[in-house]
Amino acid sequence: MEITIQTVVFLFLALFITLTSVLTVTTQRIVRSATYLLFTLFATAGIYFLLGYTFLGSVQMIVYAGGIMVLYVFSILLTSGRSDNVERIKNSRMFAVLAAVLGGAAILLFIYSKYQFLQVGDNKVTEVTIQSLGTNLMSSNKYGYLLPFEAISVFLLACIVGGIVIAQKEEDKK
């Protein structure tokens, strides 16, 4: 197996994702947890770039790393209390969770090994053009995604309104 630059990048990204995603859930401090998540998201964007999906990678970086992470950091700052750092869980519970997780992973790996993937794509990075994306997103033909696009837009609007309603201060209640 020849070692191309692609393979090296992939290996690096894979190791990086493995490391940061595990650290995300094992670190005790919530701020660090968020930071590791950020790295994971960046690495995921790297995977998308590697696959040639540059627009998707950009969206990942802008929306996740730019938008959601800011939200996380602010809410962490708003809600961090004294007791948040100390999280102890029972050993029995930890083992149960680990067993379930490892069992699930084993099942998945078993499936991967059994299933015959018909890998037709090659490693040639072929750019998906923005033009074709826009056409497909806005068209209503066979490959069009106009309806999901509109549904998502209404959904986002609903979330904006809902977020405001939920998070606003209720003065009259107290």
Binding site: T40, T44, I47, V59, Y64, S83, Q119, A167
Partner: protein
């Protein structure tokens, strides 16, 4: 050529880390972060399946795109709810949220 299995293993690790975090953390925000990890793992799968198995279609691509949008919305709402909870009981530990009766 990198085998699809390699990508899948990466996403599996991410998914399992997310599940593990979801069950072991008591902080609602940490749980939400774990959920984000799981979502990301599925996004990777969508993109990889699209790219390596059906390179002529764009379904996986768009699913990943919409998934990112939905997760952004979900995060916004969830954080709004958490801030509301925090405002009421001064904590977002999941085992302290047991006063939904009133």
């Amino acid at each position: 050529m990198i085998s699809i299995i390699c990508y899948l293993i990466v996403s599996t690790i991410m998914l399992c880390a997310g599940i593990y975090g979801f069950f072991t953390r008591h902080n609602l925000l940490a749980m939400l972060i774990s959920v984000e990890l799981m979502l990301n793992a599925t996004d990777i799968n969508f993109a990889v399946f699209n790219r390596l198995l059906y390179p002529n279609g764009q379904e996986g691509y768009f699913f990943a795109l919409f998934s990112i949008a939905i997760s952004a919305a979900e995060t916004a709402i969830a954080i709004a709810i958490m801030i509301n909870i925090y405002r009421n009981i001064r904590s977002i530990q999941v085992d302290k949220i047991n006063k939904m009766k009133w």
